[in-house]
Symmetry: C2
Subunit: 102 residues, 2 copies
Amino acid sequence: MNRPKHHIFVCTSSRINGTQRGFCCTKDSAAVARRFQEEIEERALEGEVTVTNTGCFGLCEKGPVVVVYPEGVWYGNVTPEDVETIMEQHIEGDEPVQSLMI
Amino acid sequence: MNRPKHHIFVCTSSRINGTQRGFCCTKDSAAVARRFQEEIEERALEGEVTVTNTGCFGLCEKGPVVVVYPEGVWYGNVTPEDVETIMEQHIEGDEPVQSLMI
């Protein structure tokens, strides 16, 4: 299988038991995940860049939390408006967005 | 913050809208995620190794799917019994388990 060049994980506070509770999901993290998916499609990066929603990363006070692998960059307090910046500078420009890193 | 040396992502079919539907969660993937957490605790690897549950990776026919970053190793058809092998050989021994890779 083809591995994505960048794999973006967005905490949407999904619990293993199927419920969705926690901090990130109250702070618009579902919209953050959806914006990443839209940006990937708009930039025709499907396959090369993947977004996956996750359960809690244990950093709720910094939520919404976004982690990008394989580079292992952790972002906090990410808003839907920040997504375009992350896509532009980090995903397409290979320069992680310092101001959002935790 | 401290970044984990290995970050294990387990699909538990969590949807962004809070429901849990799909293939992996019907195939014991919640038990796979819990076994990883238990193994991490038993081996005193908290902090160094993190497990996070996720939504769908789009490879349902190979589920339950487990992805380990930063090395980018993808495993399929993972059972709770396979978790000890992955922990022993891959996480502690740095040798990904070829027979489970997809």
